[in-house]
Symmetry: C2
Subunit: 215 residues, 2 copies
Amino acid sequence: MKVGVLGSGEVGQSIARGFAGRGHEVKIGSRTPGKPELTKWKKEAGAKASVGTFAEAAAFGELLVIATRGGVAAEAIDAAGIKNFDGKTLIDITNPLDFSKGMPPGLFVGTTDSLGEQIQRKIPKAKVVKAFNTVSAAQMVNPKVKGGPPKLLIAGSDAKAKKQVEGVAKEFGWAGVYDAGGIEAARWLEAHVPLWVALMGELKTFNHIFQPLTP
Amino acid sequence: MKVGVLGSGEVGQSIARGFAGRGHEVKIGSRTPGKPELTKWKKEAGAKASVGTFAEAAAFGELLVIATRGGVAAEAIDAAGIKNFDGKTLIDITNPLDFSKGMPPGLFVGTTDSLGEQIQRKIPKAKVVKAFNTVSAAQMVNPKVKGGPPKLLIAGSDAKAKKQVEGVAKEFGWAGVYDAGGIEAARWLEAHVPLWVALMGELKTFNHIFQPLTP
């Protein structure tokens, strides 16, 4: 499958490496596709990996991923071209984090909206699935926690798109998914992130993953 | 220790039963202390258990618990008498849930405030510790999940009060606590609840407990 990844930071590089490592063709889209770290990434990720502009990556991918900082997600989508999202599944890894008041971060969307919903409203012909936003870049592919492979928290309003993301998660080594509901449940996946951040100090890791344990 | 529990619903009865069962004297405070279910509760909870008004329970307790519905917490504190909280630790189990838009519920406090903080501001001489709000009434005492006893998520701005609540948690069979930070972190413990609710259907239980699993 051809995958376009918008965002070339640690998260974008990590998830794109995951796709390239499993035989998918992947193109990272960046505002600055010529930057040295992406040349390095491309070299390491192999023959299936390429780098381009946001628009090139969005046009290339049958499956798309957005992994920019939350504050620039809308801008990245505009640069990528709204039409390039039509009919496609978009895995939304963004978080609406507001670090202006210190740690843990707040959310710039409140609790009656989410960045996932804002993105879905902006590209109504795409099928947005919030996923991978609750874990560190290092745990997105081949996640490791005590007790065996965890499941990935997801939310989205299109059942087929969620099935597709479940397939990606399994390909990446997750045991499956926990489906929190429609895209409006992105509110609670995003609000989970400050709690996750709040425990980094006590747990001495960024690589913890919350799981709902049953009796 | 003498414990006063404000709120006589399932949560208040459950946590009060926990205290009574471990040799503490406990008084449940209610708007309607004469209601039959409290007479029944008192009989089952044993000689250390009693029932009274909000003010009687608040005056009685050296340690206090608030376990009312979120929407009536402020009213219950007023009825209990602000002075009765002075210098005491208050375990805050309330949740600011808004069910007016269906399931999962929203929060009526937004993400720049929390019910925990509102309660702390209302009774500034008390030491409010948000705790037990992220689990079902049935799991507050002797929590059972696969993999052994879980730890309890807490938040509060007084270190001694948090130590005291950690002691209560251990007495109740928890392995310890995860300390999310000052009382402002109550925002993320409260925002965790809609996520927890969202997974009830898929998990077919109310008794799941989220834990941060490490590599």
